[in-house]
Amino acid sequence: MAKIVGAIMTSHVPMIGRAIANRNLQQDPYFKPFFDGLHPVRDWLARVKPDVAVLIYNDHGLNFFLDNLPTFAVGAAPVYHNADEGWGLPPFGSFAGDPRLSWHVIECLIEDEFDIATCQQVVVDHAFSIPMLLLWPDERPVRTVPILINTVQHPLPSPVRCAKFGRAIGRALESYEEDIRIVVVGTGGLSHQLEGTRAGFINKAFDLECIDSLATDPSRLTRYTSRELVALAGAQGVEILNWITARAALEGAVREIHRNYHIPISNTAAGTLLLEPLAA
């Protein structure tokens, strides 16, 4: 049977792409505090060697438009191409899919009454490619399953619904018959806001509360509405929904392997968190 070996949450700020394209920048004082936080995660990955990464993220207007914007979507393609998003980030190539696992997850989620969209083709954006390159800078040893959450068009799914969705994803993965090791990756956040007169908003206290809650008591975050998350974490900080969902894929008690928090990368408070199920 398949086994979830852990959950990684990490930011996907486009500016990180610069320091991926030019690795020298990773030693630059601006980027170093964030990249230093990734080494323990890469060491852990080298040790646990997952076969598959399930990426829980939000599309930023590359793959989906407002004419058909799913609340939750699951990719089921043999390969996912990263593409031009229009504002200058160079694409980072392609990522192998695992359509058989995708369809298993889709079957389970529909049976569990999640009304997902199924996507047999997905162009993945920086919220998928940047975390993949952060976690596996030199090779692409894992197959991937993209799971997308709407953070573009309100009403967004509530934290409660996302937590239920994450738990259902976890159950689906654990019921897969093949003996594979799966890591769940939630991308985005932490606090930031791009638009409006509150642009540049950061909420360090709330970010630290989020990291603590996800590590020790994730139910604390499900008290909030998605609107309240916008107020507390900023309009884009609501990407914490991806973290909440990824965290909920782990059942039972967890062990915190690593955390990192740094302000700023571009307009964003950047964070990383690695949790392992205690049973693992």
Binding site: G61, L66, G86, W87, E195, G196, R227
Partner: protein
Amino acid sequence: MNAPKKHPEIPGTIVFDGEMAMKGYALNRMCYSFNSAENREAFRADEEAYCAKYGLTEEQRDAVRRRDVLAMLEAGGNIYYLAKLLGIFGLNVQDIGAMQTGMTVEEFKQKLVEAGR
């Protein structure tokens, strides 16, 4: 459930809900087209014609003409799509952060560094 409650205002923030979506569709649809380099080129070549083709409202065209981000948002623009248009104008998220908050870009960056202290 009953009728959704009216949501409290969030200072300095336009939540992109159905109300804004109804207002902004033409502008957002145009901006979505800018995922394609060819379309960005066509916009650069003839901005007025490109805006007309997507049926932008006068308010939206005016906001685009003036490179006024806050006005684009007021006109129903969604930041995820607008980012593609703003990229054509050579503006990144820190540039527009400064524009919207009335700071210089250096001041805006400094404000973010200070948020980490």
